[in-house]
Amino acid sequence: MPTYSASDAVPFGAVGPAGELGLFRQLHVSASGLAAGLAWLAFGMSCLWWPDIGDWPRTEGVAITAFIIAAGIVLATTTAKWLGRAGAGLQQRAPWLLALGLFLTLWEVATAKFGWLPLPFFPPPQSIVEVYTDDLPKLLDSVLASVKLQLGGYFIGAAAGFLTGVSIGWSRGVGYWVHPVLRFIGPLPATAWLPIAFFTFPSSWSASTFLIALATGFPVTVLTWSGVASVSSAYYDVARTLGAKPSFLVLKVAIPAALPHVFVGLFMGLGSSFAVLVVAEMIGVKAGLGWYLQWAQGWAAYANMYAALIVMSLLCSGAITLLFKVRDHLLVWQKGVVKW
């Protein structure tokens, strides 16, 4: 290897005589893996070394978990060779694990041990862990409610937006009627409808579904439309000379050609629908993670808020990742697409 990097392997059994240390020769302690393990060890030690300045029952449990993770990291990076792709992935992420371990150590010391950060607002790691262990049922209920609401609204909005976009892009007549409505209503933030929606819809759930669908539908409509409108006429010429009927031109030419645009709309719609979801849950729905946040704020339960925020960000990130996966699957024919 001509260059040196932090993750370069240090031969472990190189000094010993051959034969005796045959097996150890296979083991390579990676510098970055070892460092990451030490960082997590430090985190665990920092939990135990000083006394807590508050009353947190999970401190010991967190410390033990940190030790286990530290051991796991060192063991896994040392045997990475035999772990195949998972091992290689771990090896590659070792610097991140190191940073995370250091961050947690600092966080622990700054909150639970010396109180450098003002306390109720900056809870220590163990109090957030405590939320996950002790308030799990409520948190899970909230997750379920949020996911259900989000999925329903998003799919309705995406489907409606896609169909509207294709219709406007394809038919002048539809465009004549829908375009002005779209221009008038579309740019309005969906949350502006909130007060009216909660009055006029039979339930807060249907009102929120409508709002999420609205927030999703607008960008999907506009981008699908522009995608269909920008399909090169050469594609239509080719298809027509080969005997294509209008339905073929829509389904097999216009839509696949517009799909890259459609996905841009789907991504934008996902982003704005998250915002609407949280606001709708905070104001009207009385369930879901947005409501959980609101509730936690009411009780000044800051650890619960951080715990909910972490879950929320995992869910949103997961949704985006999933959409990227779908896109990569459907648009394999594109060159050089962005990796998430």
């Binding site: 090169s232 027509r240 080969l242 005997g243 050609a257």
Partner: protein, 265 residues
């Protein structure tokens, strides 16, 4: 060779149709002004004939091909295929455009299958797609995406996509114009042998006088826009032709003269 013969058998390309272009004039409206593009063009093409169209760039050759394909109706005059007026596109008249315009979201196989799929007969005719791909020598690339092909390969796919429909008239709009000269020479030879074996009628637009003389039975030379027929030259030489043929060289000089390029020759 056996595979190729089988491939052709499977395609069973229909014999050519006659084409009559009768007093056709066409124009475009640009900014409220009328731009005349074709001026009283009449051409009769016999079944199985190979006719090349030559003319200055922008004179209206592609427009004439679009009318033949039925993508647009002419402003005046009429076009007939085997005596039947042309009123719209039909897979018996297939166009190979200058750009391959393959659908980037479809594999090579699915691009070639496009016509059969559009006509709703793909299910029973899948072997014809295989045969057409075989014919242009791209069997190993049947599952490639268009962006993975070279320019010459993409143009071959476009050719296969046209041939799979058993066209009676093959309309070629500078199909080799963007290829490098080596690929072009190879594909010219392939085009001739394909045409000879299958018997379709061919209408080829090219800007390459040598290519026209190498391929066609007849070369029609157009004037500047609006395109009028300047000359209709019969190329009475047997195939395969040789590029050094003295008669062809003579014709080449004559045609370049018609195009106003004799001084540069």
């Amino acid at each position: 060779m056996v595979a190729l013969a089988l491939a052709e058998q499977a395609l069973s390309i229909a014999a050519g149709a006659s084409l009559e272009i009768d007093g056709v004039s066409h124009a475009f409206d640009i900014d409220g002004k009328v731009l005349p593009v074709l001026d009283d063009v009449s051409i009769k093409v016999a079944p199985g004939e190979f006719v090349a169209l030559l003319g200055p760039s922008g004179c209206g050759k592609s427009t004439l091909l679009r009318l033949v394909a039925g993508l647009e109706p002419p402003r005046a005059g009429s076009l007939r295929e085997d005596g039947v007026p042309i009123t719209g596109p039909n897979p018996s008249r297939v166009v190979v455009f200058q750009d391959p315009t393959l659908f980037p979201w479809r594999h090579v196989w699915n691009n070639v299958a496009l016509g059969l799929e559009a006509q709703g007969i793909l299910k029973s005719q899948r072997h014809r797609v295989d045969a057409a791909i075989e014919l242009v020598g791209l069997s190993t690339f049947r599952n490639a995406f268009p962006h993975q092909l070279s320019g010459g390969m993409a143009q071959r796919v476009a050719l296969a996509r046209a041939l799979v429909n058993d066209p009676k008239i093959l309309v070629l709009d500078e199909p080799l114009g963007k290829l490098d000269s080596l690929t072009r020479i190879t594909m010219q030879a392939e085009l001739v042998s394909l045409w000879q074996r299958s018997g379709f009628t061919a209408l080829l637009v090219t800007h390459d006088v040598e290519e026209a003389l190498f391929l066609a039975n007849r070369v029609i030379v157009f004037s500047d826009r609006p395109a009028k027929i300047k000359a209709d030259i019969v190329v009475d030489r047997p195939y395969p032709r040789h590029r050094g043929d003295a008669h062809l060289a003579e014709l080449r000089r004559h045609i370049l003269g018609l195009l106003g390029l004799d001084a540069t020759w």
